[in-house]
Symmetry: C2
């Protein structure tokens, strides 16, 4: 597989002969305001430019939107992506939203999605914030649902893109069930006011490697959105201090990794 | 429906013409030691006697074991319950364990279980401890899986037995999806060393009623096991202070409620 970190959670993935564009956020640098009610909301988003031409991304066969927060599916993506592109969503509600935006070929991921060539994509539950955040209905409503994705194929290593989630039991269960070789962590330590982290942070590399010592982790969702507080430099220092630097890839935007 | 609080999480439920025995812990008072590594482990379990004759419970049509921790499925239950009793478990691993204990009619609950008379039981994911607890593999292993149960029938109110879980997103989603009229909360605030609560506590009554203001909550899993720190008296005072005493039933062991 070839995995390219584009920007924030946007990934380009070539896997078993198919190219996936995941969580396209395609806006120009500083196109919109920081997310209100989150850390450093005075900063404009995206904080950095796309490292590639949009056309490169639009050549993907399939788009997967793990959830419809603006830093995963933005106005620019809605304008640039052809309306007949095949798009998968986590559930019916997101599919209906994206259809209402003019897209005509939108499908809903099931728990297990078997493609004819032997590729299987599993949808994994996430939790996009702390238990306390999900105990306050308006906060829970704003955080909503987000899914992870496990890719398996007999000719490929197993890949788990964990998506926007904190460490919850379903994440652990997915690690144990699939024993992925590669785990993409959205690890920018995004914070909302009062309720703290809504995605993973540096400690989750250690925790993941306790479960899967041989896995390679890939750090994503960093240095692009106002509320992501963990920098690549800080994460690099952390992994060096912890002796796990060889197990945690921290690609720059535009950098590709091959597994 | 008629719901009888037996002791700890053990419930006798008459629902749509069928009688369910849920989470049978049938040992005599103080039959075994307190759970090591949990609060007040010097106390012996169960801390109180069964309030009814075991025979009353064995007349149930179906047994459901939400998980196989000893305070939900104990040696005494394994001795007393006839080996051909129909027993439902949360997953294959629990079914295999119970079959290995000599039971011959053990089935696994699916996410949705439709019975011929219109009764449907939904299995709901729980998380039997904090996110931090599930980030430490041996702690996660000990806590394991536990499920909740939603009962629906056209002639009955909807009942959600939340089971051994803390407040996590799947609990909120179940409240929102099924809008249960009655919610049984395992609310004894059981604590394990270092990682805090592994089931619900007093605050979860308030949180649940914020989502479902018209629901009736039933407090269970109290005052029977060493590590359950919340007493009925304390919960009663809390609900009175919060003005929700009329929405939270706190049955004594042996007490029945009809809805």
């Amino acid at each position: 597989m070839k995995l390219t970190q584009i920007r924030n959670a946007t990934l380009l993935l070539e896997y078993a002969g198919t190219t996936f564009l995941i969580d396209p956020m395609l806006a120009e640098k500083e196109a919109w305001e920081g997310f209100a009610g989150t850390a450093r909301s005075h900063l404009r988003n995206p904080m950095v430019a796309l490292p590639v031409q949009v056309e490169t991304l639009l050549a993907a066969d399939i788009v997967i939107v793990t959830h419809t927060h603006m830093d995963h599916w933005d106005d620019a993506a809605q304008k640039c992506i052809p309306s007949n592109k095949l798009i998968y969503t986590q559930h019916q509600a997101d599919a209906e939203l994206i259809r209402s935006q003019g897209f005509t070929n939108v499908r809903v991921l099931q728990d297990e999605n078997v493609f004819t060539d032997g590729l299987t994509i599993y949808k994994i539950e996430g939790q996009h914030g702390s238990n306390d955040a999900y105990a306050v209905p308006p906060v829970a409503e704003r955080l909503g649902d987000a899914c992870g994705l496990v890719f398996t194929h007999h000719d490929e290593q197993t890949l788990y893109i964990a998506g926007d989630t904190v460490w919850v039991k379903p994440y652990l269960k997915a690690l144990q069930r699939f024993a992925p070789d590669v785990v993409v962590l959205n690890i920018g330590d995004a914070h909302i006011d009062e309720f703290g982290p809504i995605i993973m942070g540096a400690q989750d590399t250690l925790r993941t490697l306790q479960v899967l010592p041989a896995a390679t982790l890939v750090a994503s969702h960093m240095e692009a959105i106002n509320h992501c507080l963990l920098s690549r430099r800080e994460l690099r220092e952390f992994t060096q201090q912890q002796g796990i630097a060889d197990r945690v890839a921290i690609p720059e935007d535009g950098e590709s990794l091959t597994f």
